[in-house]
Symmetry: C2
Subunit: 234 residues, 2 copies
């Protein structure tokens, strides 16, 4: 937790917050903070600043001043075939820490149906994972995360508008062209499931304006691939 | 498991292997293979090819032919401040899947002492995690992983020789220069612990020939940072 993310309900007056639960525990056991210490804080979707500990017992009280802008967002829209629930956590937190502000979770032929029933897909859990990513990266701006259980209607009817004006790429092992590097425009990136997209899905994505690109001979896990592609593109 | 990694003891004759345990379970429950199916296999530190299932009961027998080279290694030596045991697994498997062939796990001021007592640091577990990374990426060449419990002797006496002839970089939030992109030479990369290296450690690394570089305002988890830096450098 390199930044404590504050929400409107935390404020007891204009410059004072009172925290309990996870954030209190973390400040107590990891930061090992004491009254008078100054911690990095940020208002959700707002500015970053400092919070001075004014009280630390059953609750944590901070006197807050916010002055700095959060880091620039990454101009990347990430469309992910829904990963295994265990991996979903790490992917949402990881992508958020990299600065992604738009994540679409998509069905695909090789996504197991049971994944859609996971409690980890709840709005509360997705918000928690995004929060952990922001706290890690010292950012405040939450990503928008949407679920799309039907591949074709999303790819045919929604994705072209979502990707409009961006470089639209889908990494695919047998693609003819290499993934570009250091681009200077927004990117929409579609990442397939373990086992990859089937040919018909790649054909749909190609019709929707996406270029299949290769990242080399290695097949990467989604959490590794997201970082590697972001590092390469931006 | 995009490749089944074979070890010398698996061979019952020159072209036939017999497998049990984890690999048998995976082929049965995930690949759902049957007699006659052809699977991608590779000999540890050797060639890649196909294995045709000749028997599948209490053991799995494959008739193997190996013909192709594994993918090129990544010209990267990775020196990592020892991460939390939970994270270590993912970092070893992830770095191996990216093609890293030399990993040094290093002590640092902000590495908790208890991490060095974790059973996850056993040679057997490091081998298993590397194997998982190779199986993911369809590679066969195991990384060499070494442990260095004393920061200064390693950095002063061993690291300069290890990094010789390579671009030597240490990501650090307050560095003056940006991390380079798309380099065409080997790189030695030193990645700090959660909380970062202390100033004295950065000074030691600088004396050992390392240039501190920044990756931007965001602070990334080690598993995210490794992918992002590799994507950027190569």
């Amino acid at each position: 937790m390199n930044l404590i993310l504050l929400f409107p309900d935390d404020f007891v007056d204009a410059h004072r917050v009172r925290l309990s639960g996870r954030r209190l525990e973390h400040v107590r056991s990891v930061h090992r903070a004491a009254v008078g210490d100054s911690l990095v804080v940020g208002l959700v979707n707002g500015s970053i600043g400092r919070g001075v500990v004014t009280s630390l017992s059953d609750t944590l009280e901070l006197s807050v001043s916010l002055s700095d802008d959060p880091p620039a967002p990454l101009p990347l829209t990430l469309v992910l075939a829904l990963p295994r629930p265990k991996v979903l956590h790490r992917v949402i937190a990881g992508a958020t820490s990299l600065g992604v502000k738009r994540i679409c979770l998509l069905n695909a032929w090789r996504v197991e149906k049971s994944y859609w029933k996971s409690p980890r897909l709840s709005a509360a859990n997705l918000l928690l994972q995004s929060t952990l990513g922001l706290e890690q990266a010292r950012d405040t701006v939450l990503p928008t995360i949407t679920l799309h259980r039907l591949f074709r209607p999303f790819v045919e009817d929604e994705l072209p508008a979502l990707a409009s004006g961006s470089l639209a790429l889908v990494p695919h092992p047998t693609a003819a062209s290499e993934c570009p590097r250091a681009v200077d425009r927004p990117v929409t990136l579609v990442i397939g499931p373990e086992g990859g997209f089937i040919d018909m899905e790649i054909a749909s994505l190609t019709r929707a304006g996406f270029t299949p690109v290769t990242l080399g001979a290695r097949i990467l896990r989604v959490e590794t691939a997201v970082g590697a592609v972001v590092g390469r593109l931006f």
